[in-house]
């Protein structure tokens, strides 16, 4: 499997990269980890005249807490996220997510920014970021802008990024007292896209009631899904079995899966329910609730 010809560019700065994207608005693609893009080019399912490799630009790989936010550089490798001490300690939902993306070798190149910017509903980070209420930082010719994650996914392989914009950072609100999150994925085998997967995040107040809830769903519609109705339902409830089950049921109603070899529509919708129930349970446990 051989890709069609393209020109490769390795800008040394973000500004150069943005300028190159501006120069080839029709057929330039950002090459980050390349683990989705290169297979598409090899299979000749996609084409690009120009690949703009952001791999040589310094300062795009970092994981740090700053200003009440976890800041993840756009080119941060999945394996770095998975092994980051601060992530392991304070953001177990991100470890859950990173650990089930593709396989461990792919994760050494695959990037968090790429996983989001590709706009693939089958990717795993979108659901988690939706549950966490993350923000995405994009750099374009007119500078930097911050996009709330729930405004980011517009359609199948379509995001709010402009053709000349590069995703440079992901920001996640730092965990507060009583918060917890989890990502649960059903896959046929390692390396597979999710049959269904669910990310859940809860904040439980001192009185034991849910103050904030986030639920994101993977591969259950043309875009990653934020299960808003289920989130709303949970607010003010005690995170007990019946309430979590009802939230999971409502979340499943938000899905629009299509049938494929992973399963029929009915199965996937049910898996959305089952997995959301499990993710919520785990999130509540991690939040210190019962």
């Amino acid at each position: 499997m051989i890709p069609s010809s393209f020109d490769y560019h390795a800008p040394a700065t973000l500004a150069e990269a943005v300028a190159l994207l501006g120069k080839y608005p029709e057929d330039a693609k950002v090459l980050s980890g390349g683990q989705s893009l290169l297979p598409l080019l090899k299979l000749r399912l996609g084409q690009a005249g120009h690949l703009i490799d952001i791999g040589k630009i310094p300062g795009l790989e970092y994981i740090k807490e700053e200003g009440g936010m976890l800041r993840i550089g756009g080119r941060t490798r999945e394996s770095a996220l998975e092994r980051s001490e601060i992530v392991q300690k304070r953001y177990p939902i991100l470890v859950d997510t990173a650990k089930v993306i593709a396989d461990p070798i792919v994760r050494n190149l695959a990037t968090v920014g790429g996983n989001l910017a590709h706009g693939d509903p089958g990717n795993d980070h979108p659901a988690t970021m939706l549950a966490l209420g993350a923000q995405v930082v994009a750099m374009g010719k007119s500078g930097e802008r911050v996009i709330p994650i729930d405004k980011f996914f517009l359609g199948l392989f379509r995001t709010a990024l402009q053709p000349d914009e590069i995703l440079t950072e992901i920001r996640i609100p730092a965990p507060v007292e009583g918060s917890g999150g989890a990502y649960v994925k059903l896959e046929r085998k390692v390396g597979d896209y999710a049959t269904a997967a669910s990310a859940a995040y809860v904040v439980i107040g001192t009185q034991g009631f849910v103050e904030r809830a986030g639920i994101g769903l993977t591969n259950l519609g043309p875009t990653p899904i934020k299960a808003t109705a289920a989130e709303k339902y949970l607010i003010g409830k005690k995170p007990e079995t019946a309430a979590l089950a009802e939230a999971a049921r409502i979340a499943a109603q938000a899905t629009e899966p299509s049938a494929d070899r992973r399963g029929a529509v009915e199965y996937k919708r049910e898996m959305a329910r089952v997995l959301t129930g499990r993710a919520l349970k785990k999130a509540v446990e991690r939040a210190g609730g019962k």
Binding site: I2, L186, R188, K189, V190, R261, A264, Y267, V274
Partner: protein, 787 residues
């Protein structure tokens, strides 16, 4: 206990593999590693349609791509009458089409270029116009009257039937069913799967115009047979057999997928002959999965008749076999359904009848093995599944039912109802060992407790009998060539040896195990026995490695060739020791004079004498060749027990434990045998839970890449627990049986039986493999027990 010393490393030693040093250093030599001066690359244009007329093929744009030298089409080959070729089953298949394509991904044209990038660009630039034709995908539709006839190339062909084959006593069996106290019947489908060796198929064809010699480096499990096939197919264009050299270099897994002749090989050869330069063709993974021969695709209906006490009285199986558009199976000629008639399995079944109908559909041609002896997996799955169905019907423990019906140790050699003579076995001992090892009684107790709590756990048994080592030449041939195999051993003056075989390892470790056979027989340390295979210019003719035949046939040839050498060595020893031959005794590695232990000559001394001091009147040298024609097949067996837990929410099946007790007779290298079983179990688990190739109504392949063809990783694969019993084959020179495929045959029914067992209290009797989470979940939902 091995008979030989740690220095000699004969049979029974877990000798470290002799081939490993090169693989460990990245110095293996696989086909794609072959690089010849001036070598060109070939890439193939493939059909997007499952059935279509070819209206035109335009090559102009492709020929303009820099680096592209030629585009070969069916028309090009038709000039030489090379556009069709025979299959191993005496059917025909296209090399390149002239009129129409018969399956999606079929070869349509080939682009020859200076490098593989240019070739790929060339493929994209070839323009083909198609006129789609009605597609026949479902074999049940294919056999209906009025179905579109696919093989319009066959004059007078009015349907899609390929063959009808039957064996056994039809009326006697029917009567047994009529008289039976209990009968059970089950439809069982074994889906289309693909061996997916990690190395795909390919070749480098190198035609030397000056000498008229064709050398083909090729991923083949049967180089000698391939040479003859090439000579037969291309004889009319001047390729004669002495001018053809097939070299099978290191092979990255075969499992049956590298037995057939694929069109790509033939096109590469034609291209090299026409252009006069070496041409490399290596298929990619999608081509491998989408176009190379598949395995299985058997739609079976199995029935058992029994007494109320569980005694099985008769077996009846009817099968529809989907072969795709050509019967390109790789069975012995007289066996269109392979050795499916071993379907009475491990049981003393008095009456049996089996029939198989082969049918054409718009799918890739095939019907090869997937790491099993010709259709034995299908047979084992049928009998082992239907046996469990019977146990359920009779409310008997499946272990008890098996114990009751096993052929008894003292019945061997046992004449089975469908004609085979089983060489040896002790089925009760193997199952008992497996039950003890896994703690069967405790597991049943645990299962009862879990059921009471609503948890789903299952225990599945499979007690299979294989039939390997084809085969006695009276019955077994491929295209008329008898299925013997061969070994040639030459002992050098310094007592070291080279041994060449007609087989070809694809990872089985022949360089080690064959050396150990020679070491066992001659006492020459295995370290000093160089084993070679795969080069038809140097190795003796043999039928190759598949269907677990290397040890039973070529291994036997190795032992017999060594014994011939020993006979000659004895004469030389007698001469050296000035004793009569009758007074000499052989212990490993030396002849001694009876009663005078000090007077002896080692094999090394004898070898030296064979070249320096051989008796008058005797030819010099110490070498022998053996073409071994086995008197019977060997019948390895085993009992496997699998424990599964089922996730009530997702339907996901998890194998908690899997105990495999195997019996392959005497063992050459225990470490290698264990490795073969580990691998076989994994390739048994794969189709049981994961792998399947399907087609949509238009004939589009589903599962044609590793995205959807789910080869198990280390995470899906359980940690296998092995044990063994040893029942030597009475007819094999050193009591061995084949082993490479036992586990692939035995594992799927054990897993399927375990899953069905977990759900049996809900009235579930059968689930077709692969048992996907969705399939299980649907059952859970229907039965009202889904989470």
């Amino acid at each position: 206990m091995p008979k030989t010393s740690a220095e000699v490393q004969g049979m029974g030693h877990s000798m470290k593999r002799k081939e490993d040093p090169r693989f460990l250093r990245g110095k293996g030599n696989y086909v794609d590693d072959v690089q010849l001066p001036g070598m060109l690359h070939m890439d193939i244009v493939r059909s997007p349609f499952a059935h279509a007329k070819i209206k035109s093929i335009k090559t102009e744009a492709a020929l303009k791509v820099p680096g592209v030298l030629a585009v070969i089409t069916g028309e090009t080959l038709a000039k030489y009458n090379l556009h069709w070729m025979p299959t191993l089953m005496s059917d025909t298949q296209m090399v390149l089409p002239v009129e129409k394509v018969m399956y999606q991904s079929q070869e349509v044209a080939a682009v020859i270029a200076t490098d593989r990038y240019a070739a790929a660009d060339g493929v994209e630039a070839v323009e083909v116009e198609y006129d789609p034709l009605p597609v026949v995908i479902d074999p049940w539709e294919a056999i209906k009257p009025g179905a579109p006839v696919l093989r319009t190339d066959k004059k007078g062909k009015e349907d899609n039937k390929i063959f009808h084959w039957e064996v056994g006593d039809r009326s006697g069996t029917d009567k047994a069913f009529k008289d039976a106290e209990v009968t059970v019947k089950q439809d069982i489908y074994l889906p289309r799967i693909h061996v997916a060796s990690i190395e795909t198929c390919g070749c480098v064809a190198d035609f030397d115009k000056v000498n008229g010699k064709l050398t083909v480096y090729m991923t083949t499990q049967a180089p000698h047979a391939i040479r003859t096939v090439f000579a037969l197919v291309a004889g009319h264009v001047g390729l004669s057999e002495e001018k053809i050299r097939i070299i099978a270099p290191d092979i990255g897994g075969g499992f049956g997928g590298k037995v057939p002749v694929y069109p790509g090989y033939v096109i590469a050869v034609a291209a090299s002959v026409v252009i006069g330069k070496p041409v490399k063709w290596v298929e990619d993974r999608m081509e491998n999965l989408q176009a190379d021969s598949f395995a299985r695709d058997y739609h079976m209906t199995a029935e058992l008749a029994a007494k109320k006490d569980g005694t099985i009285t008769a077996l009846r199986i009817k099968t529809l076999a989907d072969h795709g558009y050509a019967d390109a199976a790789a069975n012995p000629s007289k066996f269109p359904a392979g050795l499916f008639s071993v379907c009475t399995g491990s049981y003393d079944v008095k009456k049996a009848f089996a029939e198989v109908d082969g049918v054409y559909t718009n799918k890739p041609p095939g019907g090869i093995a997937y790491r099993c002896s010709f259709r034995v997996t299908e047979a084992a799955h049928a009998i082992e599944r239907i046996t469990d169905v019977l146990a359920q019907e009779l409310k008997m423990d499946p272990a008890d039912l098996r114990m009751k019906n096993f052929i008894k140790k003292e019945q061997f050699p046992y004449k089975a109802a469908l004609g085979w003579e089983y060489d040896s076995g002790d089925y009760h001992a193997a199952l008992k060992k497996a039950m003890d090892k896994i703690g069967y009684a405790e597991l049943r107790k645990e299962q009862a407790e879990k059921r009471a709590r609503g948890e789903l756990m299952g225990i599945g048994i499979c007690s299979f009998t294989e039939i390997v080592g084809a085969g006695p030449s009276k019955h077994f041939d491929i295209l008329g060539i008898k299925m013997f195999d061969s070994a040639e051993i030459r002992v050098h003056p310094t007592g070291k040896a080279i041994a060449r075989f007609g087989t070809k390892s694809q990872g089985q470790g022949h360089e080690t195990t064959y050396a150990q056979i020679v070491a066992e027989e001659l006492g020459i340390p295995a370290a000093h026995v160089q084993v070679e295979e795969g080069d038809t210019d140097t190795a003796p003719y043999g039928l190759g490695t598949y269907a677990s035949r290397s040890t039973p046939v070529a291994g036997a040839a190795g032992a017999l060739a060594a014994r011939k050498i020993r006979e000659k060595a004895k004469k030389i020893a007698a001469h050296l020791l000035e004793a009569s031959e009758e007074d000499l005794v052989w212990e490993t590695g030396k002849f001694s004079v009876k009663g005078a232990p000090g007077r002896s000559k080692t094999i090394q001394e004898i070898a030296f004498a064979a070249y320096t001091n051989h008796p008058q009147g005797m030819e010099a040298g110490l070498e022998a060749i053996s073409y071994y024609d086995p008197p019977n097949l060997t019948f390895p067996f085993g009992s496997y027990i699998c424990v599964v837990d089922i996730d009530r929410g997702t339907g996901m099946v998890k194998i908690r434990r899997f105990v495999a007790v195997d019996d392959c007779g005497n063992i050459i290298n225990p470490m290698i045998v264990d490795g073969q079983i580990h691998g076989g179990l994994t390739m048994g688990m794969a189709p049981a839970l994961l792998e399947e190739i399907t087609y949509d109504e238009s004939g589009n392949i589903q599962g044609g890449s590793f995205m959807d063809y789910l080869v198990p990783t280390s995470m899906e694969t359980p940690s296998w627990e092995l044990d063994k019993t040893t029942t030597p084959s009475p007819h094999h020179p050193f009591g061995a049986k084949g082993v490479g495929e036992s586990a692939t045959v035995g594992a799927p029914p054990a897993i399927a039986n375990a899953v069905v067992d977990a759900l049996s209290h809900l009235g579930v009797k059968h689930i077709d493999i692969p048992i996907t989470p969705e399939k299980v979940w649907k059952i859970l939902k229907e039965k009202g027990v889904a989470e």
